[in-house]
């Protein structure tokens, strides 16, 4: 028995991190990125985190739905 689908908190946390980094990347001045070779790493890595978090979250929610249906049909 799985008591808590671990994909849900992992997915949620990285989705939040992704959104924060994307927003911060869009709003912060370019001088911030002198250290990172002039690349807006916050924005780009935020996209990566959002994609990872979103995928985890999607699978987690689908798994949850499947479990609920299985429990309902019994």
């Amino acid at each position: 028995m799985m008591r808590l689908d671990l994909r849900l908190p992992i997915g949620l946390m990285f989705t939040i991190f992704g959104v924060i980094l994307i927003l911060y990347g869009l709003l912060s001045p370019a001088t911030v990125y002198q250290v990172s070779l002039g690349i807006n790493v916050n924005f780009w890595w935020g996209l990566v985190l959002l994609a990872f978090g979103g995928t985890m979250l999607t699978f987690g929610i689908r798994g949850e739905g499947r479990r609920r249906r299985a429990a309902g049909s019994q």
């Binding site: 028995m1 799985m2 008591r3 808590l4 671990l6 908190p9 992992i10 949620l12 946390m13 990285f14 939040i16 991190f17 924060i20 980094l21 911060y24 990347g25 912060s28 911030v32 990125y33 250290v35 990172s36 070779l37 690349i39 790493v41 916050n42 890595w45 990566v48 985190l49 990872f52």
Partner: protein, 569 residues
Amino acid sequence: MQHIHLGAVDYVILSIYFAFVLGIGWTLRRFVKSSEDFFLSGRSIPAWIAGLAFISANLGAQEVIGMGASGAKYGIMTSHFYWLGAIPAMVFVGIFMMPFYYGSRARSVPEYLKLRFDEKTRGFNAISFAVMTVFSSGISMYALAKLLELVLGWSFHMSVILSAIIVLAYIFLGGLTSAIYNEVLQFFLIVLGFLPLVLLGLKDVGGWAGLTAKLHTVATNAGFAPGAWTESWRHLSAPSANPMGVEWFGMVMGLGFVLSFGYWCTDFLVVQRAMAANSMAAARRTPLLAAIPKMLFPALVILPGMIAIALHVTRGGLLPIGADGTPNYNLAVPVMLGHYLPSGLLGLGLTALMASFMSGMAGNVTAFNTVWTYDIYQSYIRPGQSDAHYLKMGHAATVFGILLSVAAAYATTRFNNIMDMLQLVFAFVNAPLFATFLLGMFWRRTTGHGAFFGLLLGTAAAALHHGFTLPHGAVMGLKGGFLGAVVHTYPSEMAQNFWTAIFAWTTCFVATIAISLLTTRTKSDEDLHGLVYALTARIKDHEQRWYKRPAVLGVIVLGLTLVLNVIFW
């Protein structure tokens, strides 16, 4: 050194992570009803989760900071800890040892020793293990607080108390399940937090080709062949040909065989994660699945150190210089974080660093409370109580385990040598233990007396070897030679450690065989069913799909590791 400045966004990311860690513990608290739930997750963890926790529990301070430091100091040879040591050992534990650990229904490694041998062997292992876990978790805490003080200017006391409270809270609430779930969260955080650092660093030095060229300068400056930092095997013909000061035999036998197998196959901290798996098949797959990401970890933890030293030497002055005039290698990874990551990603990288320390601490605390409750309290202090009583004891053990760790952290600040001393004790205790397990699992004639006295003699041999040898340039004392005479001088501390392990293992192996042959067996063949290879029914895994069979996975993992060894030969 100048402190790294954190912005508001960095603190937001750090706080969100703490909220999730505590939230997971809070959600899981209602599922802890029995002591088995608390200590073994009710044996209900799927293989992929157990596998990621298996790596993460070991991803403590030692790995992230230590491997980065070694990457800077020794170059790619550091990856032998993975490609020669950890991976083959993980395959071995999954295929050959897990059937006994999981199949015997032992609840801990010391308990297996009690079933296989006798009470005294268990007692010896339980007590030495409990002491070691408390100190490791204390040292993890100390290292984290020291690092945050140095890099961010945070108060040492605040860091110790904050990390202690968070780890205490989530283990107290959800037991091992909570620790394992958080370890998986930490695993992804460490990968996704450090990857941008590696990518930016590589881009800056001009990719692998650029890094190789710069590391050639590092190597020739230090008086070695140009490839000494970028080729893992080619410079192992003699100790003087590589920065680690080790030759191939010491490397393969000492690190690859004794130390790595000793750690991954007998240390309850990691084995506990596999024991929590939901079936025998899942328990055996746990270390095998863990091996796949593990073999890529050198890119994440060793490479930043290599980039740091390349930049330090070719561009000048990246790493702070210590009192003895050499760069402070331990700061390689934190300095890189500050060097490349802007506010935002810096918060993520720092969160990953803190996550790694906390997972190392939590791993020790969960292993401690289990061994304390089952192998010491239930066995020697108050046997025969109700399950609810032991569950309560588990909660109490978590609290005083953390309190002892805090005490150990402060003891470390008072006595600088504790960290070195502990590494020593590890080598003394873990290395001979692997000989005991090997004989116990594969030779039914091994007796309890043989195991116990073999273990004692092996530990004594380690102490003797250490007492009569010294690494080059060290003074007599903790580093060796404490028995008053130096019989042999090793080119480096690493070489001395590897050979201490080889002596300890060989002594234990030979002594256990000799004493077993001289003493009578106390356990009959019937008693040893499920505990010894020849007396246990072979597990049939032909019904499973091919990619789930341990042997198939093992061969794939070893094949991939071989490829990595050849690429970076």
